[in-house]
């Protein structure tokens, strides 16, 4: 995983706790992570076989480091990035962030796309004051009025909203996907060595994961329970909240059009164009098709 356990990662816990991985003849050892870069490094160094990471981070790392990791399935078909603010802070639309204080966490991929989403809305980085803080401190800073808005992920909507409600405030969320940031985000990625040496295992894992994702949508309560069964430190309501938040990133118009887990060439190209612009890379430095392999998805076989 690219981060700590949570309801947004329910699919893999369903796979493990509800026997889908075992039925597929897989023996899985799950490790939590601390961001996409770390997840990709673990795969590139061979300490893990398959995991999840932001496909934008993979594209950039393929150009700069020739990282031998490939995306085999899309997980979040929309970017999870968003501005979170409170009613009364004077931010009702993207244009309103001009002149405001924003806080973000240091390692989030959102930071890479911030200049782009500001630019799409006629703003630049000079128009905002950006500071970085520990991920756990973001919402408390917002609620206590130390910042006008924070940058976080849609998977935090329930938790953030509840915390604001506890403080008697109303949360406003401005998803970047609705402001022109069209792209894939969290994806299932695997080391090239693993894909070459054990393609059958990769194929079975993807099939079991897809089955688990569908199960997560149809049985969210039990999927959240699968998370808390594996991670007793988390309560059911918290797991349920981030699970529901994540469902919108997994199942949406893009999924309806292209199918669950698909990496559609046009959207993939659009993702690369955004990544290249955000990272200051040449558009022709990478053919985005080179970082994906769709042959591991069930319907493709091979």
């Amino acid at each position: 995983m690219d981060w700590l356990p949570g309801g947004d990662k329910a699919a893999i816990f369903v796979c493990l706790e509800r026997g889908f991985c075992e039925e597929a003849g897989l023996e899985v050892r799950l490790e939590s992570g601390r961001g996409s870069s770390e997840s990709l490094t673990k795969l590139a160094t061979g300490s893990s076989d398959i995991g999840n990471a932001d496909i934008g981070a993979l594209m950039a790392a393929r150009v700069t480091e020739d990282l031998q990791v490939t995306a085999v399935m899309s997980y979040y078909s929309e970017g999870p990035h968003a501005f979170f603010t409170l009613k009364g802070n004077g931010i009702e639309s993207f244009a309103d962030v001009k002149g405001k204080n924003l806080v973000t966490s240091p390692f989030t991929s959102s930071n890479v796309y911030l200049p782009l989403v500001l630019n799409d809305n006629g703003l630049s980085m000079d128009d905002v004051t950006l500071t970085k803080s520990d991920p756990g401190a973001l919402n408390p800073m917002l609620v206590t009025g130390q910042t006008d808005a924070v940058i976080s992920w849609i998977t935090d909507v329930t938790r953030y909203t509840q915390q604001a409600k506890d403080a008697g405030r109303e949360m406003i969320i401005l998803p970047w996907a609705e402001a022109g940031l069209v792209m894939y985000s969290g994806s299932i990625v695997a080391s090239n060595k693993f894909l070459e040496e054990r393609p059958d295992v990769a194929r079975r894992f993807i099939a079991a994961l897809l089955k688990s994702v569908e199960y997560m949508r149809e049985n969210p309560e039990d999927a959240a329970k699968a998370v808390t069964d594996a991670v007793p430190e988390m309560d059911h309501a918290t797991a349920m909240g981030s699970l529901n938040d994540a469902l919108g990133l997994i199942f949406n118009e893009v999924t309806e059009r292209d199918g669950l887990g698909a990496l559609e060439p046009g959207r993939l190209q659009a993702t690369w164009e955004r990544v290249a612009a955000a990272q200051g890379l040449e558009q022709d430095a990478l053919d985005p098709e080179d970082v994906v392999d769709r042959s591991f998805m069930p319907e493709n076989g091979s």
Binding site: E38, V143, Q163, E233
Partner: protein, 260 residues
């Protein structure tokens, strides 16, 4: 009044216990009076509730994961520091060659190096023990070396005149003389080893109190994060006391007169 205070001071642990109780009462009442939000500073009563977040067996599993890494790192620090301190004391060339390197290692922020160690060595116990070792070994080397070097010259000259081999110079003169210094170093090092284990868990772990605190903070479960913090404090104090009591019972002569 003075007589009462003197009597209170004579009861072991009573004064620190009373101070702690007063702080708890002030803390509890001020969080209630000023209605401080739980995510900023939870009241002690909320922290106690935080212990209910997981079962006792789960707490024990987390505590053991941290304690195991802390102890392994601490023991590695002792095993490495003692021979290193002997070499630094015995050979000036080694001292001038290695000592600056040790200072460089100590000056390097381990938090910045920790992710590199995890990537290089994997996310198993080995890398966490190495991080713990790197944080805790320097005070030990310094205190051991200082103690051995502080041995009175006349004792060393006497051993030389009696043609004592180098090994006896260390085992019978320098190391015993350095015992107070060594225990000072051990006391600092053992608390640093807990910090080291937590730093390592922040970078990569699936279990441990540091991991639990990070995980709880990410979910805004601040009282249960503070409960984890309380366990870390108890762990550090216990380890510190084990070292202090070991010195008291095994080497009482090494203690300052008023501490005996």
């Amino acid at each position: 009044m003075t007589a009462t205070l003197t009597r209170v001071n004579r009861v072991p642990g009573l004064l620190p216990g009373l101070t702690f109780l007063i702080i708890l009462v002030l803390w509890e009442s001020s969080t209630r009076f000023f209605t401080i939000p739980t995510f900023l500073l939870p009241a002690p009563s909320r922290i106690v509730e935080g212990f209910d977040a997981v079962t006792i067996s789960r707490w024990l599993a987390h505590a053991w994961a941290t304690l195991r890494v802390a102890l392994l790192g601490f023991l590695t620090a002792i095993v490495v520091s003692l021979p290193l301190a002997i070499l630094l004391t015995r050979f000036k060339l080694v001292s001038s060659g290695i000592y600056p390197l040790l200072v460089v290692i100590q000056s390097t922020p381990i938090v910045a190096v920790a992710p590199i160690i995890i990537v290089t060595m994997g996310s198993g116990d080995m890398s966490r023990v190495l991080i713990t070792f790197m944080i805790s070994f320097f005070p030990l080397v310094v205190s051991m070396t200082t103690g051995m070097k502080a041995t009175p010259e006349e004792l060393i000259e006497l051993s030389h005149s009696l043609k004592a081999p180098a090994i006896r110079e260390f085992t019978q003169i320098r190391i015993p003389y350095a015992i107070p210094y060594i225990f000072s170093g051990l006391k600092i090092s053992v608390t640093l080893s807990v910090i080291g284990a937590v730093v390592a868990e922040f970078v990569a772990a699936e279990k441990g109190i540091g991991y639990f605190i990070q995980f709880s903070t990410s979910l805004f479960k601040i009282p249960q994060a503070w409960a984890g913090l309380a366990i870390l404090v108890v762990m550090s104090l216990t380890l510190f006391q084990i070292i202090a009591q070991t010195q008291r019972y095994c080497f009482p002569w090494s203690l300052p007169r008023e501490s005996k």
